[in-house]
């Protein structure tokens, strides 16, 4: 299976994935595919990528044994993969760096990106500044409001931030706007897609540029525990941090993999983003996957307290892993995530992103049910400085 997923010419993960885009975008995807095929195994490219991952991003980041949290829950040992310690505070920089190096080799002068929570926008603006490229970020107007701090960071980094007022004014609309802009400026522009979604080859590229998360974690857990973990847990919006952690473990059948989606106010309300729980097969943003849609196939508005999980689709490889039963997908509510956020702050002195707090919330349920000799690796995909205003608001604290 791994070989099948690795050399994936048509970009299919079972029946999911593909390239459902206007003809106009096809040449750009073909150009990208060709460039990626050429460079992915190129030692010079890999050397440069690894150089910046080490010297600029600060990898490898730790796999931290959360001892107090473990004791508090009284079950399995909990390890946190500290993506929050990366430069700029989230896993998004890994992929942004990989793609900007690709863009540079393709001779592109301008990069654009969509962003939800703003983490991918910040990551893109960061690497664009670093390599002297023009940068424009598309962000839903609602998210611009929720994530004022990240908007300002992007501007400080020299990016233009375009607020998207279509639809629900969140991530899904930002993707549409970015794709439209790409179509308009296809000659000089590289679309730096931030999650493991979109038309082929993006889901594969993003997965590959995030796979060091799982590769490092594997090496680190073997070093610290002398064995593989029993569980991997990661939050899933589009699913890039989760696939980055999962992919290197797909062949290790005894390692259970759990993706955690945003249940918002509850999966039985109309305010959630639990695509796996409530979605049907469909096509969104250029690929086939599970999609939150109404009876007529219209994409539904989604909600989560976390802007980064607010997405009505999910990466095609996740849909595949779900269908073949290799990974399990669960969801946690806004309230559970907020509680988990506080628990991690108080038990470990780590302020997690609200996205990652969803994964923590599931760990809070899972760990006590397991034996003390079992091991969970949870991906702490980002830090929560950006979310403190949302939290304060939620807890009725005026800042």
């Amino acid at each position: 299976m791994s070989a099948e997923l690795k050399d994936n010419v048509k970009g299919l993960f079972g029946e999911f994935g593909g390239k459902y885009v206007p003809e106009l975008i096809i040449p750009a995807l073909e150009e990208l595919e060709e460039a990626y095929d050429k460079y992915k195994d190129d030692p010079e490219f890999q050397e440069e990528f690894n150089y910046y991952l080490k010297q600029y991003v600060g990898r490898a980041n730790p796999l931290y044994y959360a001892e107090r949290l473990t004791k508090k829950l009284g079950g399995a040992k909990i390890y946190l993969k500290r993506e929050d310690l990366n430069h700029m505070g989230a896993h998004k920089i890994n992929n942004a760096l990989g793609q900007v190096l690709l863009a540079k080799r393709m001779g592109k002068k301008r990069v654009i990106a969509e962003t939800g929570a703003g983490q991918h926008g910040v990551a893109t603006a960061t690497v664009a500044a670093m390599f002297g490229m023009e940068c424009e970020i598309f962000m839903g107007a609602e998210d611009v409001k929720r994530q004022a701090l990240n908007v300002f960071r992007m501007k400080l980094l020299g990016a233009k931030v375009t607020s998207v007022t279509d639809g629900t004014q969140t991530l899904s609309d930002a993707v549409d706007a970015a794709l439209r802009n790409w179509v308009e400026r296809i000659d000089d522009t590289f679309y730096l897609l931030g999650s493991a979604v979109g038309p082929h080859p993006y889901p594969t590229i993003v997965r590959d540029f995030q796979s060091m998360i799982g590769e490092e974690a594997k090496e680190q857990i073997l070093e610290q525990e002398g064995r593989l973990p029993d569980y991997l847990v990661a939050c899933v919006g589009g699913g890039s941090n989760a696939i980055g952690l999962f992919y290197p473990f797909v062949e290790d059948k005894d390692v259970k993999m759990i993706g955690v989606e945003a249940a918002g106010l509850g999966v039985d309300t109309d305010k959630h983003a639990a695509t796996m729980a409530k979605g049907r097969k469909g096509v969104i943003h250029g690929f086939k996957t599970y999609v939150l849609q109404d009876d007529n196939g219209q994409i539904m508005p989604v909600h989560s307290i976390s802007a980064g999980l607010d997405y009505p689709g999910v990466g095609p490889e996740h849909s595949y892993l779900k269908d073949i039963g290799r990974a399990e997908y669960v969801s946690v509510t806004d309230d559970e995530a907020v509680n988990a956020f506080q628990v991690l702050c108080e038990s470990e002195g780590i302020i997690p992103a609200l996205e990652s707090s969803h994964a923590i919330a599931h760990v809070l349920k899972l760990a006590p049910e397991l034996d003390q000799d079992q091991v969970i690796i949870m991906n702490l995909s980002g830090r929560g400085d950006k979310d403190v205003y949302t939290l304060a608001d939620r807890l009725g604290v005026e800042l």
Partner: protein, 267 residues
């Protein structure tokens, strides 16, 4: 021969080109869409393109996005659209092609869709996000319904050749490197692209995206077999929505007028 092929053959015999207006089904209502189709036909339309409204219309600019939103406000769906075409067919045999995004069609079911099209008399399908490489299943299911291929200004010669070989009904040449919407002029590259396509196939070629003025229609007609206009017509419709519900006839007329103005260079 399909209604689309018959229409192009008749026009070619007369040395004329097709005028293809786009209307968003259900904008502003299904009943008015029927009236607008008949009005467009009276004012010189040769083929009608009817939009299927979708929540995420990737290839559309702001004007057609707004039209889709107005239609979705009363939840227009494919069932409604087929019912409407069935009603139109009692009064008109003008070729009708549906234009919509793949999720709507996938959700309805591919086989069911083709059956519905054949049953009510839909002649063709334009699905901008179902490019060659993803359309095999739909093509295999379809006998009578033309699956219309889109060619872009940046499509490679190899791809154009394959698209031309598989083409049905007509080829839709996309005249802008971008989304639908009004533009100042028709880009120089369009003519060369259409000539390239025509050297490879006898399937008629119609040009759309950005065609918004009579001058554009005239220019396009000098090298292609048809012109497709959407946003400019929707814009007129939108400007006259205030006439509703009191002055329905005047509203319908106003849309007929813009169709008539746009087709004038073809007569």
């Amino acid at each position: 021969m399909s209604r689309i092929a018959t229409t192009f053959a008749r026009l070619q015999d007369q040395g004329q080109q097709a005028f293809i207006p786009f209307l968003m089904t259900g904008d502003p209502t299904l009943e008015l869409t029927k009236e607008l189709v008949l009005e467009a036909e009276r004012n010189g339309a040769d083929i009608i393109e009817l939009g299927i409204p979708f929540s995420n219309p990737l290839a559309d600019g702001p004007t057609i996005q707004r039209a889709g939103k107005r239609s979705l406000a009363h939840r227009t769906n494919l069932k409604d659209i087929f019912k409407l075409v069935k009603e139109i067919r009692t009064e008109s045999q003008i070729p009708i092609v549906l234009m919509g995004y793949f999720n709507s069609i996938f959700n309805y079911g591919l086989e069911r869709l083709i059956n519905s099209c054949e049953e009510v008399g839909v002649d063709g399908l334009i699905i901008p996000d179902l490019p060659m490489g993803e359309d095999e299943e739909l093509r295999a299911l379809s006998n009578e319904v033309d699956i219309i291929s889109l060619v872009a200004l940046n499509s490679s010669p190899k791809r154009i050749k394959e698209l031309a070989e598989n083409s049905q009904g007509f080829i839709y040449a996309v005249a802008t490197l971008g989304t639908t919407g009004e533009r100042g002029e028709v880009s120089k590259e369009v003519k060369a692209k259409v000539e390239e396509i025509k050297s490879l196939t006898s399937t008629p070629v119609a040009v759309g995206f950005g065609i918004s003025k009579p001058e554009h229609v005239k220019e396009v007609a000098s090298f292609a077999d048809g012109a497709i206009v959407g946003s400019a017509i929707i814009k007129r419709l939108e400007d006259n929505l205030e006439l509703l519900p009191e002055s329905e006839a005047e509203f319908i007329n106003s849309v007929g007028e813009i169709v008539s103005t746009l087709t004038s260079p073809l007569n």
